[in-house]
Symmetry: C2
Subunit: 328 residues, 2 copies
């Protein structure tokens, strides 16, 4: 700015007025604009925002194994939905990858260091240091999904995983299946644990814990393994609830290997209604997750806190209806 003022032959105050839209004479404005072009001045927005104590940026963090991020079309859709709303509010969404303890520490410093005004956290778990930090420093935030023990006044956006799991299991039961198993994934997340609960509730006295294969992640390769385990334990299995569409796609692979026809011999249902659901043979009956809308709502809840005027809802649950196709 010093260089601009010198080149234009005006004071720094006059340059400042031009930059911030205040009054200056037409001559001074022309001289300053020419000087700006000449010296290649670019306003340091980071400095300006700092003076105003805001960064105009919102962090987006998915606390998932990054390898899984690549496979999970939901997280991308949540991110795009959130970006859509933040963009309209002129907020820069910055998404931060966490792949190591070193990342966790650095991201913690970033979140508490004035670089963002808020954060959206996907798949938070109760013992996660990022989750604790956000509660501690009081950063305006919103969870997508919620840690099981969350009780710290941070709102969340999600779906009724239990209810939807119950609904799709009931629908599978209604097709006349007798021996129904589940490939249950990610039981350390609310989504994974709740889907298992819904499955158990729908089966009631027919629930058989031996017919639950547990896998760590919502992942195709684990779906292949989970289905093999179920076939080993119960060759007469005729119905399967896979905890996600990717898991269901893996299960279909194992059923094909084992020579079982779908849906004739085994009916299978998934969860997510992601791009996987339409690509499998046959296309999956599943639960529709409104992932983009989840992202949009999470962004709204962060903006609401930043505006600091209206009361912030504790949580928003969006509809997640069953979509019935031909895999069961």
């Amino acid at each position: 700015m010093h260089d601009v003022a010198a080149a234009a032959g005006v004071s720094r105050g006059t340059v400042n007025r031009v930059l911030n839209g205040g009054y200056v004479s037409a001559d001074a404005r022309t001289a300053i604009e020419a000087a700006i072009a000449m010296v290649g001045y670019v306003p340091n927005t980071a400095a300006r925002n700092l003076a105003r104590r805001r960064s105009q940026a919102i962090g987006f963090i998915a606390l998932e194994d990054p390898a899984l991020l690549l496979e999970d079309p939901n997280i991308g859709a949540i991110m795009i939905g959130a970006n859509e709303i933040l963009s309209l509010a002129d907020q820069q969404m910055v998404s931060l990858v966490i792949d190591s303890d070193r990342d966790t520490q650095r991201v913690s410093r970033y979140l508490s260091g004035g670089f963002v005004d808020g954060a959206i956290i996907v798949s938070a778990r109760s013992h996660d240091p990022i989750t604790r930090l956000i509660a501690q420093i009081g950063l305006p935030a919103c969870f997508v999904g919620h840690p099981p023990d969350l009780d710290r006044g941070i709102p969340y956006v999600g779906i009724d995983n239990t209810g939807s799991a119950r609904a799709i299991t009931a629908r599978l039961l209604a097709t006349g299946r007798r021996r129904i198993g589940m490939i249950a994934a990610a039981l350390d997340r609310d989504s994974g644990a709740d889907r298992l609960t819904g499955f158990r509730e729908a089966l009631g006295s027919h629930f058989d814990p031996a017919l639950v294969a547990e896998i760590p992640l919502y992942d195709y390769a684990y779906g292949v393994k989970g289905m093999r385990a179920l076939l080993d334990r119960e060759p007469l299995i005729d119905g399967v609830f896979a905890a996600s569409d990717a898991v269901a796609a893996g299960a279909l692979e194992s059923l094909r290997e084992a020579g079982r026809r779908v849906p004739e011999d085994v009916g299978i249902v998934g969860f997510d209604d992601s791009s996987w659901a339409l690509r499998t043979q046959p296309p999956l009956s599943t639960v529709h997750q409104p992932a983009r809308d989840v992202g949009r709502n999470a962004a709204e809840l962060v903006l609401l806190q930043l505006r600091g005027k209206d009361p912030v809802p504790e949580s928003i649950l969006l509809d997640s209806p069953v979509v019935w196709r031909t895999s069961a």
Copy 2:
């Protein structure tokens, strides 16, 4: 800091010395540390870094339709590779979504506003405003892939798309196929254009432009359409080079619909060696893209510019060998 100094009964200068590791008496240090805990002071790192004129953050931007980001396992792998190296250098990678003109403008301000020290740009195109801006403001940067007309001293990391496309087409020819077509995607990117060039070079005088179906994106759904177009134009087609694995997976779907067996009736090859390649039936013969390594190298090239000591190579080309499976 004012509050900390008041609570500890010392000057702000003394607090500053404790925070920055200078000498203070043991008593003063104890008092200040207690005061810090009491008032809940968190150092504003954004302010400190600003004073030092660095943000310790590197932007990561993929100039692709965000809907495609969700489908493309390569971009995620590039991102994870880049994060790995940046993390070791204690740099925060911030990834920025561009989904609208509004996003382009805001991201441009972010990049030029002091929020990042450098940037990694994936899939830059020549007319992209972000590409122009980066060249203009001289931000330390690295491209993954390169805009066709790039001549601005910005290094890039990539693979030899032309050479690999030539190699896999030659291999497909060697299986005895007579009527080979290509589903060519993203011809406005260097990767897409180069793969078509390699295909044409390998076929030489056998190249028939009627057997090239053009689609806009590396995408499953377009792969389905591209293959239908080729089958319409040449029912005797017996070999297909799909510009990516996702496109090949879509093409397999069309071939199944049309009752063609793979590889017996039609041999098909892809490009990427992404998770798609192992999930199709049969698994895809393809070109291996070392996506994580591409990300790692791109991060190294940005760090090299930030250190400002050693010369920066103009480009790094990584090996991308043919991986032969059973789809051809």
